[in-house]
Symmetry: C2
Subunit: 120 residues, 2 copies
DNA sequence: CTGCAAGCTGGAGTGCGCTCCAGCTCAAGC
DNA sequence: GCTTGAGCTGGAGCGCACTCCAGCTTGCAG
């Protein structure tokens, strides 16, 4: 019924319970609904948002930027700004991929040298 | 003449002076030669080694692994082990690249959504 | 009704990889 | 000889992103 316990969300998103609470405290996710007893009850919209957060975190976006993106998302008039933020992040990610591939090339050269020493 | 001051090495490798000293203290680089007055004098072999360290660090190899690789490099009979270490690292790097590309794909989808919202 | 797992809060602690600092020595130029 | 800047050491501090903990409350299972 579109309701999830913290444990289920942790399972689904890969974030730990502590991390979920930390993100909420930091404002990366808006205040999550609570049951009468005070327990968190997440909705599928929260899951979708957390999936995006995960994507951005996994690609190295710092918490501070995520916080900014999150604040912007509360205001409908900030679409362009949010888009610009993602665009900038995309460039960072692309640069990181390029850098890794370049370094990997060096690494392969070194490995070729070892192969030569070992068997060739 | 194959001798470099710390400042020159920092310039050449992109490591800070503090980082160079830290790496030496941690054993990532063997004790660097000293002048009579006690100042470090690096050789081009040190530069080559530091370049490799840089490549490995930039691709995310932790200091502890680098330490191990460095210790192994002192013993000629460990070629195979060192090769295995690099091979394992290469797999990690490849996985990281793949993961980044996958996430970037999601990011592009999100950006496409924004473009649609913004201008049609 | 009881037991026990799950969840709550605020705050302290952790791991990594540096980075900074004080107080000193050394060396090259004038 | 003096100044100035580069370098030295040991150790403290930092930023980030969690992670752990104590002490408590909640709520389902039997």
């Amino acid at each position: 019924m579109d309701e999830y316990t913290p444990a289920q969300v942790a399972e689904a998103t890969g974030f730990s319970l502590d991390t979920l609470r930390y993100y909420e405290k930091e404002g990366l996710i808006g205040p999550v609904e609570r049951t009468v007893g005070g327990r968190r009850r997440y909705r599928s919209s929260d899951l979708a948002w957390l999936d995006l957060i995960k994507c951005l975190r996994d690609t190295g976006m710092p918490i501070a930027d995520l916080k900014r993106y999150s604040r912007l998302s509360e205001d409908d008039s900030t679409l362009a700004e949010r888009f610009a933020l993602l665009e900038a992040h995309d460039r960072v990610v692309q640069a990181e991929i390029d850098r890794l591939r370049e370094r990997q090339h060096r690494l392969h050269e070194k490995m070729a040298w070892y192969r030569e020493q070992l068997g060739g």
